[in-house]
Subunit: 364 residues, 2 copies
């Protein structure tokens, strides 16, 4: 155990100066309201004892830590297995570092730990929070709201647009009130992907969904259905297989698709990792990509999308930029609110939607 | 920006009860020394205002956050690219969660941010820290020591065993005094690896080192030299190529080796990622593994080691267990020290060294 030689405390300074702890705290934090002879006595005691102000004490006064929490609503093992989070964290880290703010990543083993995360957030250790990968029915957004920490969400939370599915609410205000989030144009991106497949002359276009307790997956499915309805008036429900954004999930879904719809000639996968799994199964089953089955992903997660066999045509979203923008919006909100009392009523709220683009490679 | 309706403050409670902030704080934290009528007044004010104690305030008294920081002395991009850290974090996360402690991962863009990390640690936001991937000349260990946070290091820090290379010191006590660390038997593991290659009849056994500003790399190199000296009395310095624990570094080093020592018939790579790079270059240059060149790695980082071509023979260290043990030692130290004043003199210090084992696969 590394331990400093025990450091002089605020109490010790107060005792030496013969003043209250509150007075020491006020002086140490450059505060007003302390008469000069008293302040001088405190400063002398600080110097004599070599007192270094504890930031917990200082932050009681300044309420500023120059630290921002990042909460990913997934188990730690998932956070490190999915490069999506690494990319988003990269953008966040760059932006926070540029403003000399400490990135505080709060990891969990799962949803059971979310109450503890909320306690830490409520504990006054950070100035704000960036929260992503929210799932329906997760109490986290509500807990964070109750913690009273300024927050920017990554991905559209599930309240606001659909009041019936509100995750958290409070009497007298809508659940999504004052919520700021950053997302990409999931529905528009899905339109682009499916229109591209239709434009290639494909007639049996399937969709392997993401985890449907996340708005990104729901929006991409809606985008797929929009185009299918537009082109054929209706869609074959067997062509939609539910999955979970993982390679293993993509494999399972592709097997199911080949079983129920052997005439499938195109797949829009909800993300690149899902497409990776689908490509594996297509290869194993002897289907040529794109000749027999064209495949489009979503994310353009480099290097994954470049290194699939064949390289993946996909809908690009700028994941790193999303992270950077989340951090920027939070820091701006914090500095806007610095000199006034902030309340929910002040928060502008709303979403920032980033555009997507189709990146053509060999798979479609 | 999500904002709670502004919450009642400690100050508001103090004003309503007509007492000082310190008194409110003492009552809220179940503290003694407050007369009952006063305490009752405070409790009533707390109830009337719906005051939720701020943990920053509470922790000034209890000095306990149930949170542990993890600091990896590498840029954020490296942390997410090297599965070693993910494995170590997995062990740490499981252990901390089992004790309802929050894992607070402090990420940086590089060494320039280490002072900020130390400030955060000194700020009273965590009860202790787990620190790993230390490099020589990094001011971090000294800064952390000055922050006065109980710390367990992953990997032997560079002070203690070698006073000349002390990273941080303090008048009146040795630099490594009271330092607790967890490491694997790097030197012994290297012995096993090199003896295995010699036992296979290899005569030109090369070593691609890790980053030599880390003790793990130095210890593995020493282990290699021990065996070479033991077997041949001296070693050919051209057979040792310095590298950096990455696949790209392994590739560069292997090319250099093939250039200067085309008769090389075995390689002990400082870790599995380095071996991965070396295997790639050997394959490109038409050398068969293990027939022409036998290769042994270090770590047994699954799935990396299993999925190389051919599968990698390697020295296994239990990375996840190292993380778990670091967390366990820290939590134990914290609870031992809970009820008494801790000073540097109390800290037992010392290292816990975990054994290694050779895992034989196809590459050697």
């Amino acid at each position: 155990m590394t331990e400093a030689v025990s450091r002089p405390t605020l109490e010790a300074v107060a005792a030496r100066a013969g003043v209250s702890r509150a007075t020491v705290s006020r002086v140490v934090n450059g505060g007003d309201g302390v008469r000069e002879p008293l302040a001088e006595r405190v400063r002398r005691a600080v110097e004599e004892l070599g007192y270094v102000p504890n930031q917990a004490a200082r932050s009681l006064v300044t309420r500023r830590h120059d630290a921002v929490a990042v909460v990913i609503a997934e188990p730690e093992s998932r956070v490190f297995a999915d490069p999506f989070f690494a990319l988003q964290l990269r953008g966040i880290s760059k932006e926070l570092t540029a403003h000399d703010n400490q990135l505080v990543l709060l990891l969990t083993e799962g949803r059971a730990d979310h109450a503890r995360v909320a306690r830490y957030l409520a504990g006054g250790h950070v100035d704000g929070a960036l929260v992503f990968s929210l799932h329906l029915d997760d109490p986290l957004p509500g807990l964070i709201r109750d913690a009273g920490v300024p927050t920017v969400f990554g991905g559209r939370p599930d309240w606001g647009d659909d009041p019936g599915a509100a995750v958290c609410g409070r009497a007298g205000e809508g659940p999504g009130h004052g919520v700021v989030y950053v997302d990409c144009d999931n529905r528009g991106g899905a339109h682009t992907a499916v229109r591209h497949l239709v434009g290639l002359g494909r007639r049996r276009v399937a969709h392997i969904t993401g985890a449907l307790d996340q708005t990104s997956a729901v929006d991409r499915l809606d985008g797929y259905r929009d185009v299918m309805a537009d082109v054929w008036g209706e869609d074959d429900p067997r062509l939609v297989v539910e999955s979970d954004f993982t390679p293993a999930g993509g494999e399972r879904a592709m097997r199911e698709l080949l079983g129920c719809c052997p005439d499938v000639d195109a797949v829009f996968a909800a993300n690149d990792l899902t497409a990776l799994g689908a490509l594996r199964v297509l290869r194993e089953s002897g289907r040529r990509v794109p000749e027999d089955v064209a495949v489009v992903g979503f994310d353009d997660m480099v290097p994954v999308a470049e290194q699939t066999d064949p390289p993946l045509t996909t809908v690009r979203q700028d994941i790193e930029e999303m992270g950077r923008l989340m951090a920027r919006l939070l820091l701006r909100g914090l500095s806007d609110g610095r000199d006034r009392e902030r309340t929910a009523a002040d928060a502008p709220g709303g979403g920032v939607i980033l555009p997507t683009t189709l990146i053509r490679r060999a798979s479609a």
